[in-house]
């Protein structure tokens, strides 16, 4: 089987998110099952600008063939103004305005789309739904198209151009049931073949150092938030919640943000921001955390919550985020908050009750082993793709060859 993935960024420099998930699937298809995988992507690393920084052309990364193309345009300067204007009533925005939003969001990749039409893959997987290459590519491919939406309840999902994007998919691969329910609530695509797959967790590769040693925080106990330090991911909210928590409950507890930084957080002696760290340091930090916090309301899965559970660390997640709440609820591995009040009480309860932490962490650990173990997960994905290929291209395309 030959599989093509279409994704806006690709490579070890890209941490987490949909692009990281695409890379994990691609590499496991190659390494575990011996399939041929090629990637159609850009030369960008930075999701805020989509600036071309990597060389265009074809290369190999961990056995996966990567085709990189320059973008005709990155994120437009007027994007954030346009984005602000569509936020209040996105479903009322015209098709023309919606298309303008897609282009302004970038990256605009006509060369990539031309090359994709010539792909000899048996199936093309688009990951995620949000970007130009998916919107304009999914109805141009001749092969069966799988859409990994990685959808959140965000204004863009309600924009008109995405109706065609979802309608052109031959199958969906969802991270969670909550994501599927969200998509089906917004778009009439419930009959389309689908799988709720989730993501596999990476092997833990810590160096065995104490987390505090990696963080340089001495003997201080800490809670951890792994992922992009971004206002839209709830990082600023969490920092403010934590500062208020510490003001009301003085102690030597610290909060460690672990991940690339794209927003400024309020300064505090109790907050440590590591920036990008390697996998070994990340796992060492997670291992000694008291609680793993996911403040983002906009997650379609949140692998970092699962990584906490791999180490038996309980989770505390944003209660408005359906997928992370679903995983906490299914696993019994975490709690969620929907206000500062519930954050304060839930965090206080977790910190004060080590038995509760252990029980939640153990339940999460068991859940990850049963559900998101890579050998199980990648076989399910393989069988799903084989079914999609057997079913063939069922949705109308605009390809001139059809």
């Amino acid at each position: 089987m030959k599989v093509a993935f279409v994704t806006p960024r690709y490579g070890p420099q890209v941490m987490g998110g949909a692009e990281g998930a695409a890379r994990s699937l691609a590499e496991h298809l190659v390494a575990d099952l011996g399939h041929e995988v090629e990637i159609y992507t850009t030369c960008a690393i930075d999701h805020l600008t989509w600036a071309d920084v990597l060389e265009p052309g074809t290369s190999q990364i961990n056995g996966v063939t990567v085709h990189r193309f320059r973008s005709a345009a990155g994120r437009a300067k007027e994007f954030f103004i346009l984005d602000g204007s569509i936020r209040s009533a996105p479903s009322a925005v015209s098709m023309e305005e919606g298309n303008r939003w897609v282009e302004a969001n970038g990256p605009v990749t006509p060369e990539l789309l031309d090359a994709l039409e010539d792909s000899t893959a048996d199936v093309v997987a688009f990951y995620p739904y949000l970007f130009y290459m998916t919107v304009h590519g999914i109805d141009r491919v001749r092969q069966p198209a799988v859409l990994h939406p990685a959808a959140h309840d965000e204004p863009a999902l309600y924009l008109k151009p995405y109706r065609n994007t979802f309608a052109s998919a031959d199958a969906f691969c969802y991270h969670t049931r909550a994501e599927r329910h969200l998509v089906e609530r917004v778009l009439p695509v419930a009959e389309t073949p689908q799988i709720v797959l989730g993501l596999g967790t990476n092997a833990e590769v810590g160096r065995g150092r104490s987390g505090a040693e990696v963080l340089g925080t001495g003997d201080r106990p800490y809670v951890v938030c792994v992922g992009r330090v971004d206002e839209q991911k709830g990082a600023v909210m969490l920092a403010n919640f934590f500062i208020e928590y510490k003001r009301r409950h003085p102690s030597d507890l610290a909060l460690a943000f672990v991940g690339p930084t794209s927003s400024v957080l309020p300064e505090s002696d109790d907050i440590v921001i590591t920036g990008i760290v390697d996998e070994e340091d990340k796992w060492d930090i997670i291992a000694d955390a008291l609680v793993s916090i996911s403040p983002s309301a906009m997650e379609s899965f949140s692998l970092v919550v699962l990584e906490g559970w791999v180490k038996g660390i309980p989770a505390l997640v944003n209660g408005t985020c359906g997928p992370t709440v679903e995983n906490c609820s299914l696993s019994g591995g975490g709690l969620w908050f929907d206000s500062y009040g519930s954050f304060e009480i839930a965090l206080g309860r977790l910190l004060a009750d080590s038995a509760l932490r252990e029980q939640l962490g153990a339940a999460g650990q068991d859940f990850v082993r049963r559900t998101f173990d890579w050998p199980v997960l990648i076989r399910r994905y393989e069988a799903f793709l084989e079914q999609v290929i057997a079913r063939g291209r069922t949705m109308p395309t605009t390809s001139p060859e059809r």
Partner: protein, 323 residues
Amino acid sequence: MSDAAVDIDSVRSEIADEVRRRRAGGSFDALKERELEQLFHQYAPLQGRDGALAETLRAVDVTAFIDPHVPVASSQPAGTAIKRGLRKASFWYVNWIATQVTRALSTVARSLHLIDDELTDMRKSLDGLTFSGSPVIELAGAEGPSAWWAESARSLGVQAPGRVLVSACADGWLVSALVSAGVDAYGLDPRSERIMEAEIAGLDLRDDDLLDHLDAVADDRLSGMVLNGTTEALLPAQRRRLLRHIDQVLTHDAVVVIHAVHPDAVDGDDVPAELDLAGARPLRPITWVSLLEDLGFVATVELGPSESDFLVTARRGSPISAP
């Protein structure tokens, strides 16, 4: 490590009680809490989890207040002092504008709360007439691959030219049989524990309610529908909704299979309690034939061996051919 599982709902309930107790006791700083709530809701989902109107209204309340105290922090050396001066000089103006806007937004927020109250009252009234979801009615001995109607359903499903939906699919036995016969079939069953194993094994099964699912299916996208154990407990409004969906989502040559409890058998001990609790009465087979004929189907009826249940098979546009 302890092996005991934590009752998450119970812990969350205790947390919610503690939040209420502390709020009532004035433990939280209301202004600070409002500021933090604004941060929390800034990037919260559009409709909140499960589309909760109350959550959205809470966000409206939080954002209705326009703060006239413009931030003065600056990265430039004299920036803060300059900004503070400007703020002081223009405060009377900004405050006047902010007051007007806050007043207007508060009026809008109040009207939304009144609408929410009205909707809540209406929902309570409607709750007395209906209930969410449609329970599965499973007749003892009439389920699974050895059931008397299984082969008829399978052989008709095989004649469907496209995608086939099986409701109350349980462990996916019929979906699996159809897929093995080359049919593009998938299943629904709200009893998630029943589908889990087959779902992980690769069948397209979902733990969804039939009517909610059909609400999200595009027109003319299904070629067949096997409605097993999902029509008996429908109330009149839900049944009308189902018929509308049968008409709209099925193609012109689609097939329909209905396996249901016979109304003459509802007083028998074999019929599950869910049917009593639903307060609905199953339709007679002849009524289904008539309803389907109104939608352009040609239908036939087969009674089960004990006459406790029946099978209606129908094709749109032309009679069913022999298998």
